[in-house]
Amino acid sequence: MTAQTMSNAGDPAPPETVRESRKRSNRTGYRYFLRRLFRRILPRIGAVIVVLFLIGAVFAPLLTPYDPIVPDYEAVRQPPSSAHWMGTDDLGRDLYTRILYGGRISIFAAFIPLLISSSIGVTLGLIAGTVRGPVETIIMRVMDALLSIPSILLMIVIAGLLGPNLINALIAIGIVGVARYARIVYAETLSVAEREYVLATRALGKSTAGILFQEILPNVTAPIIVIASLSIGGIILAEATLSFLGLGIQPPTPSWGSMVATGNRYLQLAPWMSLAPGAAIFLMVMAVNFLGDGVRDALDPYLSGKM
């Protein structure tokens, strides 16, 4: 013990500090992230629900004996029963089946707008934050303008004008999300650029591009992940809303939003027709938001710059 201390007795770290470092080093990596994510109850619930929905969407044919599209005029608007445990719709189709298949659209379609908004938004934000000058002003003014139109309204306008179908709806949702990423990435870029370690690398002679990709970008990923995970719920909701308004996917393909819209017409006669798919949207979005909230909390030390 004494010998070891002797060798460390100079300026270098004594055993305590080394032990301390070892203890802290397990705070990196994605295992640590997962542990933080699932230490609370709500993200855990969220993860379970999301996984169930995913299984339902992927293995839909194995989980139900019915077809989601072919009408069955013998079984029109039946209330929930042992044969159709969520009831049937106005064309006699099993609602449970349609909800499983509808999940394919509602869940997987969410990733297209996510990609559109994040790729365009992050690029614009980085450009505005690094290039500065008139480019910065123009980009950010346009983003301000986009943000001052209520997003649902803008989506409706874009989707309505491009023509009602799923792809147009997803493009509309994607475009509307751009400004949010651009704003955050822009602000983060500016703030990271002010940090001392960027100053230090500038003093080493590093180029602007080098600073952007090696110093700034890795340090703005955490906020980007956070916005992305928090926005998935909103995207699913937006797709459902557009479908509800008839601006999304067209019949007979099932989607949760359009199912609620159809059910709306039979609210007095067959309330299950709108309540069941609506509940599916609600559950799914809530589960995704529980997860997104957890991701934000788990990444908090990264965000506050302590990591």
Partner: protein, 318 residues
């Protein structure tokens, strides 16, 4: 102060220009002949290609996009937003009658959201990680996650169909019969307010949590202030600052949500006007609705910023 307001008002000009230009461009990028955006189909029925070209020329559709936009802007500045292609009513008249309906809906929703959200948010912040906090957080996330069209149907089903407590649709103007108007506003206001309620609840909670860790809260305790005084005198006003900001930002979502809600409850507001116009591609009306809604959003945010200055002396100087 006056200077600040002037600067803010000037700053809204480019935003409005960009917004209207974006919508204008979208209209002309959309598939289909733009002539149908300006003229009722019945009028063009049976016209020959030559006659159509003549009509296009008359309407100025053969000019470059930017010139056409300038033309629209020039008229808009004089208060002329054009006429609807259905029925030929003045767009500005249509907006005048729809605007108060949407504003009433939005303002009542804000009141509803604040009254419920702030107390719950404060409670959750004071007892973080308690069961009540968990419940509040779940409620808040639930509120953000619930599709408003579905909530609307649930409420209608419950209060109108099952319990027959409230009328499910029909509209009476505020100026005509206040109790009847309010009765019909209850369900739309709750539906629209839930999302804002959730945001405000979360913001109140996180704002309070953050403020309670500030140095000046420790000072207040160190001078012997009781916990109630610490919370309501020292923390509350500071914690309300981000809440105010979120109300401003969420006002846009509120106006957007109104599009859907007005449709479901058949309220003759701007959202419904705009949505109907989208479906029949009634361009002048769409452009007018977007303009007015954006303008309201910007105005509300200006008011929010001015209020912010009243609450926070640090902002007043600059």
């Amino acid at each position: 102060m006056i200077q600040y307001i002037i600067r803010r008002l000037l700053a809204t000009i480019p935003v409005l220009l960009i917004v209207t230009f974006i919508v204008f461009t979208l209209m002309f990028m959309a598939p289909g002949d733009p002539i149908y955006l300006l003229v009722d189909v019945e009028q063009t029925d049976g016209l020959t290609e030559v006659q159509m070209d003549a009509l296009r020329h008359e309407l100025g559709l053969d000019r470059p996009l930017i010139v056409q936009y300038g033309d629209w802007l020039w008229h808009a500045l004089q208060g002329d937003l054009g006429t609807s292609i259905r029925g030929g009513r003045q767009v500005s008249d249509m907006l005048k009658s729809a605007f108060p309906v949407s504003m009433e809906l939005a303002l009542l929703s804000i009141v509803f959201a604040l009254v419920i959200a702030i107390p719950i948010g404060i409670y959750a912040a004071l007892k973080p990680n308690s069961f009540g906090d968990l419940l509040g957080t779940s409620l808040a996330i639930g509120g953000i996650s619930a599709p408003n069209f579905w909530v609307a149907l649930l409420l209608v089903y419950l209060f109108a169909v099952k319990l027959s407590l409230l009328p499910s649709s029909g509209f009476v103007r505020f100026s005509e019969d206040i109790p009847a108007n309010l009765e019909r506003m209850v369900l739309p206001v709750i539906t629209l307010g839930i999302g804002l309620m959730a945001s405000v609840m979360r913001m109140t909670r996180s704002g309070m949590l953050e403020v309670m860790h500030q140095d000046y809260i420790r000072t207040a305790r160190a001078k012997g202030a009781k916990e109630g005084r610490v919370v309501f005198k020292h923390a509350f006003r500071n914690a309300m600052l981000p809440v105010l900001t979120i109300i401003g930002l969420q006002f846009g979502a509120l106006l957007g949500g109104a599009v859907v809600i007005e449709q479901i409850f058949s309220l003759p507001g701007m959202g419904r006007l705009g949505l109907d116009a989208i479906f029949i591609r009634d361009f002048p009306v769409v452009q007018g609705v977007v303009l007015v809604i954006t303008l309201s959003y910007l105005t509300v945010n200006l008011v929010v910023d001015l209020l912010y200055g009243l609450l926070d002396p640090r902002i007043r100087v600059s």
